[in-house]
Amino acid sequence: MRLSLLLPALALLTAASSPAQTFVFKGERWEINDPFKMDNSIPPKPVVDPKKGTINVIKGTIDRTSNQGGIEVTLTRKLSEVTEVVWPIPSRLKEAQANVSRGEPAKALDNVEAVLKFFEPIKNVPGSWWVKAAIVKIDALDRLENDAATAAFLDTLDKEEAAKLPEVATQIQLARLMQRARKGDHDAVVKEATDLLTKADSAELQARLHIVKANSLLASKKYEAAMTTYLRVPVFFGSETEFIPKALLGAARSFRGMDSPALREQKLEAISNRYLYDIIVSYPVSKEAEEAKKMLPKEERAKAEADQKKIAAGGPLPEGVIMAKPKLADEEKVEANK
């Protein structure tokens, strides 16, 4: 009988918050119009609900019309008074993330800049998406391989309050690490990534660091170490879906590097091809799927593409494919930002 667990636990729990776009002020909560939600007009305009607050970026205020005793009153509060932001992930940020994983860094930058601009005045308020957007921007810049732009943005970010947050600080370190990897300083990158891995406390960061480390190991032709490092991502961070195709692709490359006539019996090329197949089947719209198609022998590529179509049409998952993970619920992502 474990009733006693119930009673104390009840005493601990507190009410949960609502996922709508809300700004919290001291003692007050205002629902806010979502500037990223557009109507169907041409050109599209933001959908505005007069009952909800609307942000005036120039004035740095939020205005809301309220009906008090039949009289319409416009209430104004300053953005600096916001104490908390409750906001589901902005659609453009989501799109930017998708752009990055599809290998469209320019589009990602376009989307993410809008989010950065919107959250700029409240970037340090809890629940703001500015930090996440900044991280996506780093990703997009990294994909563009524009070292000058990346360096400039990282320098700017370094000066921000947000840079003191451990996860942001680590992201900045990570981005700098990736720049060094591009310059070919692989030994140092491996060493530093290994150090950072002991400090990183989120699955996302761990996954990223493993990939950076593995990339450098692969570039140094340390195929075995690269393979085990890449595979840690699907093995331990299977829910970090964004990184799985990168890791699988890296693992496939590592297996190819490991292959030799002496290891013919281990059928490493077939194993490598199996990972490429997994990418095409499970992550068909990723940039890595395109890469995988190039790497796969044409007969197997045709099979993978056919299987992917069958799965997309509701067919069963082929035997052994374990990497296709369900996405996290949207609510979970909202909360995860807090």
Partner: protein, 1111 residues
């Protein structure tokens, strides 16, 4: 079902949940009340109030017995007080009883409170009259006493009371569900499942309006638990995600959510272990894996704890700062926040104390992956445990499964190293014997028998708690290893000891059989018979009976003198009895039985051969006697007998070969015998048909080419039929008598007196005519013979063409290129070579004809739509040109491939050959594409070294020396060295030289120069490079002299490699002229150089001429 001990993880989990239970605060009712009791004086505190405060303090300090005594005293003393105060004291007494776990008295007190005080404690405790809490406590008291129905009845009242607070009703639903489950704890599974379903129905009602409040979330947690128990994972996961989304981030919730995820994973894992259906099982493992992977790791949890504690500390600090003199409500808030800090810290401490947390997750993930046939990922999961949690309490299990994973990925060396590591680290662990068995098993599997025996003996000597079964298995394995390493006597001894020690062993039958085999292989046929008889007696229908009977036949054949008839009889009986048995063993043994029949007949033939020789001698001795016919007859008779048994032997060997598809050893043996017998007897057709049948079993068999070769050769020989020889012989015989007569006539005519010249000429003309007739007759036969041979050659090519055509469209069939090369070689041999510039005879078979025939034989027209077939066509023509020594044609055909085909459309053989050709022509870009594709896709092919060597050469040519070196090192370090070893070593040496790593480069060049097998152009080149390096490093005359010495060795020894010789000459001359001040010597050397025929047309020669003029 990989593991049993995995369930023990529940202990660790239970420990953490226990922490939750113990450290969470009791209720919110512990605040001190300062309201004065009636009759209290302002100046001096009322004794009742003092007593109340003391009782509250005791309660707060969890001194329940003391508190109870104080509340009882207060109850006795405070007679004339307001009902609500009486209610407070009654409630507190009940609480004390509750915490003392005196359930009956708690029940009495709580019932009294609820009956006597309909308004409860009224407003005494911040608006909550405590009736709800009392109800819950009473229900728990009932439950603790097993009074389930009373508890449920009270809960039903709350659930159905529309006036009750919504959250109280939610709690009532949750508690009802819990009680329903608890009361069937010891019931059968069916009752439990019914209870879970009932609980689900109640909990669904509790969560019907969402899970926004703590009470509803609690109900939702329970619902997840019930779903999990009923195996409704999808529902459990969905609801769990919803709960997580509403989480307030408190460590309590995080830990709880985390362990619930683990629980779902465990439930799925357990379901997988017990699932009968293979498909469901994989699904369950997959679901378990997803949950385990979704579980937060230590770093994440620790960080959450840290943040939560930090936030709570900040809250305490702010509250304390803002309210230096707090009112009761503020004080309560401060106290609550402090308690939460303490609680969080305790959870953190408890969590930190569980060092195995991450390792357990990795362990579970590893097990799932192993079950899901992802051994590489499992390897990584277990590796994580060794790297990050070497002190893991289940480390032995981790070792065991990691070893399994390593074996599955084919890394036996590593698996053995891991076994050894384990044994040395944990010699007393329970798993030692299992792991030592694996260690031995790997050695045994790899046929490293002495090592395997060593491992097994080590286990016997060092592991004290071996079960009798394991001990028996080890004894058997040791004997089996001795047997496998053909140590017959020790093996026999071991088997005999085994039989004595383990009389009723389940492997007794096998041991008896192997024991007999030991006698058999030692040639102790008498003992073998006894042993096999014993086996047949004990196991008349035993699994080894077919082999035993076959060996009995061999024993008969092996005794001296051999019992041939007995042997054949036993073999024929064997075929009669087992001929239709389809077991693998019998099928594999059938060719051996036939072979034995063949061998026995050959022995008979050998015996008859002696008789034939004797009869022949007899005949020769009596050639002129009257009994000659008798001797002739005797000889013919034994010859016929010999022929008959030889035929029987051939028939038996042929039957053996045809039935030996699964017995390659027997096949090789009989094919060897048939190769000796059939061609000599002119039975080429039989030979061809047999090898064709064997070739057709599997065209990808490594020996398929050999079989095909025999098919082709036999087919070609079929053309030269014995009939032609016989006919020629007949003609010769016919003419020889006539010629003899005619010659005799010439002789006689010449000796005759008065013979005229005309007569002699006429006689001679008659001889000449006969000779011409003979020649014409023989020519006719020869012409027919040649036609027949040509026909058969054509047929042979057709067979080859069929074989190539079969796989010409399949890019992955690497053997096709070998067949193509074979075919090209055959056609090239048909060409009659002529000297360059000489026209071939009219009608002669030329290389152009060969090209046409090749295209026809490859049936390229039929495969017009196949890219790879067309590419193979160009490759075939290129190869043909290699055999006909027409390098331009080779290059042209390979260039067509390069121009029309992407790397991915070709296979490694063509990529390698064409890549090399492109490289030689200087088309580095295309060559790099081809070589790069080999490295990307075909590192394990026979042509992988072409990829490395080609790319290294290109990098070197582009002056990317580090890259070239890296490629060479990679190939050499990984032993990817077949045909290109010399090239790779040479490029490595040059790259080292260009990177000024002279010592290493020198070592490499010297190695090349001194290796006999590599003598040739690279030797010359190495000498030149050694000179060049010496020149580059030279600072004085001695240094330059050393360089010149190397150059001299090059041009003196390797003139035929004119490029290197020319370079060496020129470099030496320049050193003489510029560094050693010996212009005359330089001039002389240059003149010598320019006189050489091979050198004078080189580029260096041109430069040398100009240089000479300047000297």
């Amino acid at each position: 079902m990989l593991t049993k001990e995995s369930r023990t993880y529940k202990l660790a989990k239970a420990a953490l949940l226990a922490v939750l239970l113990a450290v969470t605060p009791v209720t919110g009712i512990l605040k001190a009340q300062t309201r004065p009791l009636p009759g209290a004086q302002k100046q001096e505190e009322d004794p009742l109030s003092v007593l109340y405060k003391a009782a509250e303090k005791s309660l707060e300090e969890k001194k329940y017995k003391e508190a109870l005594a104080q509340f009882e005293e207060l109850d006795a003393k405070a007679v004339d007080v307001e009902p609500k105060l009486k209610a407070v004291v009654t409630f507190r007494k009940a609480v004390c009883h509750f915490f003392i776990k005196d359930w009956p008295r708690a029940q009495t007190e709580l019932t009294a409170f609820l009956d006597k005080f309909p308004k409860g404690t009224e407003d005494f405790f911040d608006g909550d009259n405590r009736r709800g809490t009392a109800e819950l406590l009473l229900i728990e008291a009932f439950s603790k006493q097993g009074k389930w129905e009373l508890a449920l009845a009270r809960l039903e009242k709350i659930r159905t009371n529309t006036l009750a607070r919504p959250e109280e009703r939610v709690n009532a639903f949750t508690l009802s569900a819990q009680i329903i489950v608890d009361r069937v704890k010891s019931s059968p599974d069916e009752a439990k499942r019914a209870a879970y379903a009932q609980a689900i129905s109640l909990l669904k009602q509790a969560t019907a309006d969402g899970i926004a409040t703590p009470e509803r979330r609690e109900a939702a947690y329970k619902l997840v638990e019930m779903y999990t128990k009923l195996g409704l994972t999808k529902e459990a996961t969905q609801l769990k995600n919803e709960i997580d989304a509403k989480s307030n981030g408190s460590p309590v919730e995080i830990v709880r959510s985390n362990f619930q995820r683990l629980e779902i994973g465990d439930a799925r894992f357990a379901a997988a272990e017990s699932a009968a259906d293979e498909n469901f099982r994989a699904d369950f493992y997959r679901q378990a894996l997803t949950n385990y992977q979704g579980t937060l790791r230590r770093a994440n949890l620790t960080s959450s704890f840290g943040r939560a504690i930090e936030a709570k500390n900040a809250e305490v600090e702010t509250l304390t700062k803002n309210f230096p003199k707090p009112n009761p409500e503020q004080a309560a808030n401060i106290e609550k926040a402090k308690q939460e800090v303490a609680q969080f810290k305790k959870i953190q401490d408890e969590f930190n104390a569980n060092k195995d947390y991450d390792a357990f997750i990795s362990y579970r993930i590893g097990l799932c992956l192993l079950e899901l046939k992802r051994p590489w990922e499992a390897h990584v999961a277990f590796l994580d445990i060794f790297e990050n949690s070497p002190g893991f309490s289940r480390i032995s299990g981790a070792y065991y499964y990691h070893i399994l994973a390593l074996r599955r990925i084919g890394r036996n060396n590593e698996a053995q190293a891991k076994c050894k590591e384990f044994i040395s680290k944990f010699p007393k662990d329970d798993q030692v014997s299992a792991i030592a068995l694996i260690l031995g098993d790997i050695s045994q599997e790899r046929e490293e028998f002495p090592e395997a025996i060593g491992h097994y003996k080590w286990v016997l000597a060092n592991v004290k708690n071996l079960t009798p079964e394991v001990q028996e298995e080890i004894d058997f394995r040791i004997a089996a290893c001795l047997f496998s390493q053909v140590d017959w006597a020790p093996a026999q001894k071991a088997f005999e000891e085994f039989l004595k020690k383990h009389e009723r062993s389940p492997v007794r039958q096998q041991v008896l059989y192997m024991n007999a085999l030991c006698s058999f292989f030692q040639g102790k046929y008498k003992e073998t018979k006894v042993d096999f008889d014993k086996y047949e007696q004990e196991y008349p229908k035993g699994q080894f009976i077919p082999d035993v009977r076959y060996r009995q036949a061999i024993v008969k054949f092996g005794v001296n003198p051999p019992d041939i008839a007995g042997t054949i009889k036993l073999c024929e009986d064997w075929l009669k009895d087992f001929g239709k048995t389809n077991t693998d063993d019998v099928i594999a043994q059938t060719p051996e039985v036939y072979t034995l029949i063949g061998d026995a007949n050959i022995r008979l033939a050998d015996e008859l051969d002696k008789k034939v020789k004797a009869a022949d001698l007899e005949l020769r001795a009596n050639a002129k006697s009257a009994d000659k016919a008798k001797y002739v007859e005797a000889l013919a008779k034994v010859q016929k007998e010999k022929e008959a048994v030889t035929n029987k032997a051939i028939d038996a060997y042929e039957a053996a070969a045809k039935s030996a598809r699964t017995n390659p050893q027997a096949l090789e043996f009989v094919l060897g015998e048939l190769r000796k017998l059939l061609p000599g007897r002119g039975e080429h057709k039989r030979m061809r048909d047999l090898f064709k049948e064997i070739f057709d079993w599997n065209h990808n068999d490594p020996k398929a080419m050999t079989y095909l070769y025999e098919v082709i050769r036999s087919t070609e020989r079929m053309g030269d039929m014995p009939e032609f020889a016989a006919e020629s012989e007949k003609i010769r015989k016919k003419f020889s008598a006539q010629l003899a007569d005619a010659r005799k006539k010439v002789d006689e005519t010449e000796r005759r007196d008065k013979v005229t010249k005309e007569e002699v000429d006429a006689a001679k003309a008659a001889v000449k005519k006969l000779s011409a007739e003979l020649e014409a007759e023989l020519a006719k036969v020869e012409a027919r013979r040649q036609t027949s041979i040509a026909d058969q050659k054509k047929r042979a090519l057709k067979i080859l063409s069929d074989a190539v055509s079969e796989s010409i469209n399949d890019r992955t069939q690497e053997g096709t290129e070998k067949l193509i090369v074979f075919l090209a070689e055959k056609l090239a041999r048909k060409i009659k070579r002529v000297k360059p510039g000489v026209k071939p005879e009219p009608g002669a078979y030329t290389s152009a004809d060969a090209e046409k025939e090749l295209v026809k034989l490859l049936r390229l027209d039929e495969h017009r739509d196949s890219l790879v077939a067309q590419a193979r066509g160009f490759f075939a023509l290129g190869q043909l040109a290699v055999f006909t020594r027409e390098p331009e044609k080779t290059a042209a055909n390979f260039a067509k491939i390069a121009a029309n085909y992407k790397a991915e459309e070709l296979n490694p053989t063509i990529l390698a050959m064409v890549g090399d050709s492109l490289l030689a022509k200087g088309d580095h870009k295309k060559a790099a594409d081809y070589f790069g594709y080999i490295l990307e896709h075909a590192r394990s092919s026979e042509y992988a070294d072409y990829g490395f060597a080609g790319l290294a050469e290109i990098a070197f040519a582009q002056k990317k020396y580090a890259e070239a070196l890296s490629l060479c090192n990679e190939a050499i370090d990984n032993n990817i060295l077949m045909a290109k070893e010399l090239d790779l070593r040479f490029t490595r040496a040059r790259a080292l030289a260009e990177m000024a790593k002279y010592a290493e480069a020198k070592k490499e060049f010297e190695e090349i120069a001194k290796t006999k097998e590599w003598r040739g152009e690279k030797t010359a080149a190495s000498l030149y490079w050694l000179g060049l390096m010496a020149e580059r490093q030279a600072t004085d005359e001695k240094g330059y002299a050393e360089a010149i010495a190397y150059y001299r060795r090059c041009f003196m020894t390797w003139k035929k490699y004119e490029v290197w010789a020319a370079r060496s000459y020129f470099a030496s001359a320049k050193l003489f002229a510029t560094k050693l001040n010996q212009k005359d010597a330089a001039k002389q050397l240059l003149k010598e150089m320019l006189e050489k025929d091979r050198i004078k047309d080189t580029r260096e020669a041109e430069e040398a001429k100009a240089y000479l003029l300047g000297l």
